[in-house]
């Protein structure tokens, strides 16, 4: 077994638990005695988080489940081991001109490819029977998408919290299509190699994440405060984001399998996955339910 000098995690505004864990330094405390350092890397979205994981720039990354699935299907050496939250963090947003998914035909929609909002958009379009050729999807990072919507450069935006909540509050954005079931959970992923080499560190990380989750449940107002400071957003925006996020369970169950299968089928249809991908097997390989079975 190799000696480990530092553990690298990402933190993101869409993942409040990661902000809490980073803020209180619980992981640092736990690992200090073993002489292991902790490095935090900021992630702008699931796509970035996965890019960092795949390039061995971080060991733990928090992403949407569907984004991880897409990556896994393309051969990424990662496994999802922990449910950070069940957020309703994405929806379709417009500034009022569009009120229904059916009106999206021929319109410009901003989204970040390879992330949950993108897959959400695909599912919404597919449910409405609109093909991808009938819309114009502009690929931008989440924050730029919010700006593009408010300055009228796109007609709609597949948003992500906290940007989405901010657009709602500050620029009169309207969530014209919501669907909790199309959100695919905020999962914590680990590099497979890291999991194999340092299982006990993984446990430690998960335990501290669990500690953070409990704290978030017990201190909603403080969590909002923290989020608002970190993301440089007003407190009411942070509150909206947290209201839409459930921190109830941290254990992977078959619910996640079902959600991911639905997303995976849409991806298959849209040719985002190779046609020879076996969906169920990939999902099983991604969701490693053995690592975390709840707090002891």
């Amino acid at each position: 077994e190799q000696t480990l000098s530092k553990v690298r995690l990402d933190y993101a505004h869409y993942s409040p638990t990661s902000l809490v864990l980073k803020e209180f330094g619980w992981l640092e405390e736990r690992l200090e005695e073993q002489g292991i350092k902790v490095e935090w890397v900021f992630s702008q979205g699931s796509n970035k988080s996965l890019e960092f994981l795949n390039s061995n720039s971080i060991d733990f990354g928090s992403t949407a489940g569907a984004a991880a699935l897409l990556s896994k299907a393309n051969g990424a050496p990662i496994e999802s081991i922990y449910v950070l939250s069940q957020p309703e963090w994405t929806a379709l947003v417009s500034t009022g001109s569009i009120t229904d998914v059916s009106q999206l035909k021929g319109k410009k929609i901003a989204a970040t490819s390879g992330t949950d909002p993108y897959i959400f958009l695909l599912q919404a379009l597919s449910a409405q029977g609109i093909s991808l050729d009938e819309v114009d999807i502009v690929n931008v990072q989440h924050g730029d998408g919010a700006n593009a919507l408010s300055s009228g450069q796109v007609d709609a935006w597949a948003g992500l919290d906290p940007h989405m909540a901010r657009v709602e509050v500050e620029r009169g954005g309207q969530l014209f299509y919501r669907n909790v079931d199309f959100n695919t959970y905020n999962l914590l992923n680990v590099r497979t190699a890291f999991l194999q080499e340092h299982p006990e560190i993984v446990q430690t990380v998960l335990e501290t994440y669990e500690q953070a989750r409990q704290w978030v449940i017990e201190h909603p107002e403080e969590t909002a405060q923290l989020l608002s400071e970190d993301a440089n957003i007003p407190i009411e925006v942070a509150r909206i984001q947290l209201e839409r996020t459930s921190f109830e369970s941290s254990v992977l169950t078959s619910t996640q399998n079902e959600t991911l299968r639905r997303a995976g089928e849409t991806l298959l249809q849209g040719n985002f996955l190779k046609q020879d991908v076996l969906l169920d097997e990939t999902i099983d390989a991604l969701l490693n339910k053995d690592v975390w079975e709840g707090a002891q």
Partner: protein
Amino acid sequence: MFGKERNDVKAIILDQEKVKTRHILPNLWRLTNGYGWLIPLLLLIVWELASHMQWVESYQLPAPSTIGGTLYEWLLDGTLWTHGSMTTLRVLAGFFLGSIVAFIFGICNGLFPTVHQLTDPLIQGLRAIPSLAWVPLFVLWMGIGETSKVVLIAVGVFFPVYLSVVSGLQQVPKQWIEVGRLYQLSRLQLVRKILLPASLPSCFVGLRSGLGLGWMFVVAAELMGASEGLGYLLVMGQNTLSPDMIIASIVLFACIGKITDWILVSIQRRVYKGGSQWS
């Protein structure tokens, strides 16, 4: 610097001599010329093998055949055409915009020393900014639409073209201008008949390097947000962990870029009737 031609038919022979004596140490030219494809081919084979033997992870570097497959698919389903043409159009739009502005500024600056003294320091100052640093500002000012993309490319194209137009005009030999004065040419005639044709080679050098930079900047422009174009494919590949898409779009960038350069070079050949170099 060296020598001077004398014999009435020697000039052309001397030129051939130059070509032959380029290489200095013993020349295995005959043996190796035309074998430039050898090493790339070898690399491709090793790479393919490495992929099949799993020496490298396919999620990090897919086999050349996989990339070829992706390209073939793109060719069949029209992706190549749609995205390739979009990117090419952006480059061309930016290239023309940038070159035209550069020519206007360059001609004014090259011909009128007063204008040059007044505006050149400003242009040189702006030139010191690494052009990629403009990206956030352009997004802020012009959004992520076509305008900001084309303007960004045009900015990249502007500087090399401007510089070579100015230096081309300033370095027209005084001797030719004297000939013009002996013929009582008006100022406009002087510009049209002597200054412009004489600075053409320098202008083309600028245009070529401008086009090269244009291709570099279209990548930056499409990375900042796009719904079409090779840069879009690149980002899609990046976000969905499809290195075959990344590499396929890189290959396309290289090929189309090379083709546009060839076109420019052949235009240059046609325009310079008097041979490719005037010295």
